[in-house]
Symmetry: C2
Subunit: 166 residues, 2 copies
């Protein structure tokens, strides 16, 4: 018995992205109650040299897309980063969930030892599929999803660990 590559990836991405959709709804309600434009969230940053809310969500989306596509050996679709409203961000998250769910277990399972090559600023980095999932794709995904959550909490949206975990 063991965990398959598909069960260690797809359901994790789908669950956290679904939770993120619920956070966006709470953020919208908070903005309406406080009478500020909900699109204000898009530019919020935790530090001047950290990426804003919109980018956190776009990169979380790309982390899930890149992981599924690379493990399956699919051509990665290029998604333009043009989201300019909370509704656009919702659509991006939903598109990501659909993309993740578009892969069958058979396409992802058995990729533990598959070579994954990333082009980074510092040059090429090579992983096995398992190490790419565990030590790059998932931490990177959690980083951006959690930073998006932290930005909303910092902005006063009423949520807690239950909303985070779903």
């Amino acid at each position: 018995m063991s965990i398959s590559m598909h069960s260690a990836s797809a359901p994790v991405f789908v669950r956290m992205l679904s939770n993120l959709l619920a956070w966006l709804d709470k953020a919208q309600a908070h903005a309406e109650a406080r009478k500020f434009d909900p699109n204000i969230y898009l530019g919020l940053r935790l530090a001047p040299d950290m990426l804003p809310f919109t980018r956190q969500i776009q990169i979380a989306s790309d982390a899930a897309k890149g992981c599924m596509g690379r493990l399956a050996g699919a051509e990665l679709p290029k998604w333009e980063d043009t989201e300019a409203s909370l509704d656009d961000l919702r659509a991006r998250v939903k598109k990501t969930i659909d993309y993740v769910q578009g892969f069958s277990a058979a396409q992802i399972d058995g990729t533990e030892a598959k070579e994954i090559v990333l082009q980074m600023r510092a040059g090429e980095v090579r992983f096995t599929g398992e190490n790419y999932l565990k030590h790059f794709a998932l931490p990177n995904f959690y980083f951006h999803v959690t930073t998006a959550y932290a930005l909303l909490r910092h902005a006063g949206v009423e949520m807690g660990k239950k909303d985070y975990l779903g």
Copy 2:
């Protein structure tokens, strides 16, 4: 071929906790360069109703400890949450790494279907070992580790994604 429960848990905890030790060193250096007491970090919060830095690290530590101990069926050691300095927090993180590394693969592997029962405020929650790891222990761990990172970045500590991923 597949991922074992041990390989999906222990190396992930150890890697992120080791990265966290490096962030604490950078935080210390930042405090010294700016001439403020490094223990100031311990009380920082991203929002008044979020837990402070010290608790983020204690809970990340407990998430890793609880996951390994519960999967192995070990009696969980009770660690008093008495850390009052950056050095104390470093010691807590190192103790956690040692605890995680104290389990052999044989103690953790094969626990995918093991029943894990958590006592939550809302009552008892039951998971399989695999779902507990993927949908509770790991997201909870990443939540607190990433929030600790976000607090340090918010406080001006110079770090980036490379420090996060290690």
